[in-house]
């Protein structure tokens, strides 16, 4: 019998705590596969953040550290500076990275920390029950924007990849999505490149992954994937925003 697909060694056997239909699981798998394929698992440190992925320290099959809300890039800095030869990555959501942790992410990029940031943007605070995030789309209904996000009072959704690309210290910034098999494969290529760059000491990388929150959005899993493709990707255009590593 030929094995055509198997679970990556990059994930532990702990069952995911994610809701059915959520694409966090896919993104975890992509990160884990990249670490395995690049042979980095034995000398990597994952920094888990606060949000739905707070338990990711249980899932990635490498050393891990749980960080305070928004502070993962600072924690990653501490690890990387004492172990520059190790691979250090953060896994952060949009509340963590684009709201409470803007200073830490901007300044880690500004210093050109040689780390990899996986930024999962699902336009909502998932873990706390679906509140508005800085990335929530205009008119999108959340539990704290019950009449839809009013941009006149809450601002236009923040575009982190565009912002981060303006920082001289950043090396590689790309936005991808996990909406269908093709986009998932592209997302994996970007994530792999980011880890490859870190291995080659090329500096700071952030891969923004447009992800679903079908529960928080009040959509079926399939409709949520369509929402990523049609709504999110049109406000948050996919693509490479910066690549100094070529």
């Amino acid at each position: 019998m030929t094995v055509v697909f198997k679970k990556t060694k990059g994930l532990t056997d702990a069952p995911f705590s994610y809701c059915p239909g959520c694409t966090h699981g896919i993104i975890h798998r992509l990160v884990a596969e990249c670490l395995e394929e690049l042979d980095l698992l034995d000398h990597s440190v994952a920094i888990a953040s606060v949000g739905c992925s707070v338990m990711s320290y249980e899932y990635f099959n490498c050393d891990a550290i749980q960080a305070a809300h928004g502070r993962a890039p600072a924690v990653a800095t501490g690890v990387k500076r004492v172990h520059p030869e190790k691979i250090v990555f953060t896994y952060q959501g949009d509340g963590d990275l684009a709201s409470i942790g803007t200073a830490e992410i901007v300044q880690a990029a500004h210093r050109g920390e040689n780390i990899t940031v996986i930024f999962v943007n699902n336009a909502i605070y998932g873990m706390t029950g679906g509140q508005m995030a800085p990335t929530t789309l205009p008119n999108q209904v959340t539990t704290t924007s019950p009449r839809g996000r009013d941009v006149s009072k809450t601002g236009e959704p923040i575009k982190m990849s565009e912002l981060m690309a303006t920082i001289p210290g950043a090396t590689y910034i790309e936005r991808v999505m996990t909406a269908d098999p093709l986009s998932v494969r592209k997302a994996k290529r970007a994530i792999k490149k980011a880890f490859q760059y870190q291995k080659e000491n090329k500096g700071f990388s952030m891969i923004e992954v447009l992800s679903s929150c079908n529960i928080g959005w009040g959509l079926s899993p399939n409709d949520a994937l369509q929402y990523i493709k049609n709504e999110m990707a049109s406000y948050f255009p996919l693509g490479v925003y910066k690549d100094k590593g070529v």
Partner: protein
């Protein structure tokens, strides 16, 4: 090695490096700036120095470096310590060794930059969330500050707990002759460190999250048992003994030296007094203080605050001896004669 004249801030930094500190993260704030400057200049190439974007980031860098096995340290002053409280709670929760130096100044708010002791409660009670304790060492001069920062790394590693060295603006800014211990501080194995090395045969996770209440209660009980051990073993104080003393001062840090001058002045006027100086503010020397106070007419607690350590002094005494307080704040420092007058007032206008 002969003595050199050094600023407290620089001497603390040098002593930290001598004690094996290999990761420092800080943010500029007066009156501790010479400490971060010294670190930027003298941290060995193999070590880590980062001027962080904030005190918040600095303590979280310490959290990361300590989690990865380093002897990590940060330093700041009062308002900066307020910002570090979140990270200190995380370090305590995840049982990470970390050394935090606070060169304190007057508050509240932006306050002032001159020496004060309004952060006794901030250091000993903390502002972070949860049921945790931080060991707090209080030096009274530059030499002792260097010894205490060394001890802080030892205690942090031994107990896997944050340790605060609570200095004040005088200690940070003043120069005194100092001899720094350059003997290597033995490394303590950290098999728990999450340093990206699976060759040990298993994953290491550094974490303070316990969603299961049974596990979290157990974690709190384990922490409590550790704090009990610290309270049993690590209490430290200085008692200038005088059998004839009718009054006992209690003071820590720089003010304890002013108390010594007041004691001399009182002696000249025929009044015998002694000094009890806590060197560890947590664990506080409750029993020793109570014992030392027995037979005294009263205890006078002198602080550069409006009264913070006095609460621990009263807890120690349990009403056995009257406790009075004398304090100045905001960068104003009492003079020996003020303390002399306070003693005479309480003795009934002698």
């Amino acid at each position: 090695m002969s003595k050199v004249l050094m600023k407290g801030n620089e001497a603390i930094a040098q002593a930290a490096i001598a004690a094996g500190c290999n990761a420092f993260f800080g943010y500029p704030i007066t009156p501790q700036n010479e400490l971060i400057e010294y670190m930027s200049k003298y941290m060995p190439d193999k070590g880590a120095f980062v001027q962080a974007e904030s005190e918040l980031a600095a303590i979280n860098m310490v959290y990361g470096a300590a989690a990865a096995g380093a002897r990590a340290m940060t330093s700041s002053s009062s308002p900066g310590l307020a910002l570090k409280q979140e990270g200190i709670s995380y370090c305590a929760g995840a049982e990470l060794p970390a050394v935090i130096v606070s060169v304190s100044r007057g508050g509240p708010g932006l306050g002032g930059i001159l020496p004060a002791q309004g952060d006794y409660n901030q250091a000993t009670r903390g502002g972070g969330n949860g049921d945790y304790k931080v060991i707090v060492l209080a030096p009274n001069g530059v030499q002792e500050a260097t010894e205490m920062v060394r001890k802080a790394f030892y205690l942090a590693d031994t107990y896997r707990n944050p340790v605060i060295v609570l200095a004040d603006g005088v200690i940070g800014q003043m120069m005194e002759p100092v001899e720094i211990n350059t003997e290597a501080l033995p490394l303590i194995a950290k098999p728990w460190a999450s340093d990206g090395n699976l060759s040990r045969g298993h994953r290491n996770v550094v974490n303070s999250l316990f969603l299961n209440p049974v596990e979290l209660e157990k974690h709190n009980q384990d922490l409590r048992a550790k704090y009990d051990l610290i309270e049993e073993k690590e209490v430290d104080y200085e008692l200038s003994h005088d059998e004839n003393a009718e009054v006992m001062f209690v003071a820590y840090g720089t003010p304890s030296r002013i108390v010594k001058a007041a004691i001399e002045n009182l002696k000249a006027e025929g009044i015998n007094a002694c000094l009890f100086r806590p060197k560890t503010l947590y664990p506080f020397p409750y029993e020793a203080l109570k014992k030392a106070a027995q037979g005294k007419k009263f205890v006078l607690c002198a602080e550069l605050s409006m009264g913070q350590m006095i609460q621990d002094v009263r807890l120690s005494l349990e009403g056995s001896v009257p406790a009075h307080f004398y304090g100045r704040a905001g960068g104003m420092v009492f003079e020996p004669k003020e303390l002399v007058n306070a003693v005479k007032d309480h003795l009934g206008g002698r």
